[in-house]
């Protein structure tokens, strides 16, 4: 399974958020740091 390499460009992605707005990692480039959290489940 691929893993993210430290100090390398993180893989970009585009996905609609739960309200339907498309969110891309690259949207934050140059503006914000991103803490990407992979949640297991809400239950």
């Amino acid at each position: 399974m691929p893993r993210v390499s430290l100090n390398q460009i993180a893989p970009d992605f585009s996905l609609p958020d739960f309200a339907g707005n498309t969110v891309s990692l690259s949207d934050f480039r140059g503006r914000r740091n991103v803490l990407l959290v992979f949640n297991r489940t809400f239950r």
Partner: protein, 111 residues
């Protein structure tokens, strides 16, 4: 999630956007966000596209995915990667905030 919510202002002050991805569908996300007044970006990923891209670990014995966190700086570079080995294996906010301070002060080139 409550842990991150608690210190969200401190993350925001440090120019950090918290983006939460998970396998649930949009309806489940919306309900959870509303119930808990979460200020984060919520990304339903029922097809596991981002989860696979980032290699979130699957623990076959527990039949679930383990939590993972990736801190990406303004240049798009992964500066911290943590793959949990259990549900409770989550770095503390203090640990992440200290890393953010380090990232923000390192003057990494923004491209």
């Amino acid at each position: 999630m409550a842990q991150l919510r608690h210190d969200y202002t401190r993350f925001k002050e440090r120019d950090v956007e918290v983006v939460v991805a998970g396998p649930e569908d949009a309806g489940t996300f919306a309900e959870y966000w509303q119930d808990h007044s979460l200020p984060f970006v919520g990304l339903p990923d029922p097809t596991f596209s981002v989860l696979k891209l980032y290699g979130q670990e699957v623990n076959l014995f527990k039949l679930g995915r383990m939590p993972a966190q990736v801190l990406i700086d303004k240049a798009g570079v992964a500066r911290f990667v943590h793959y949990g080995h259990s549900m409770s294996d989550i770095p503390s906010n203090e640990e992440i905030l200290a890393l953010v301070d380090e990232v923000n002060s390192s003057g990494a080139p923004v491209t």
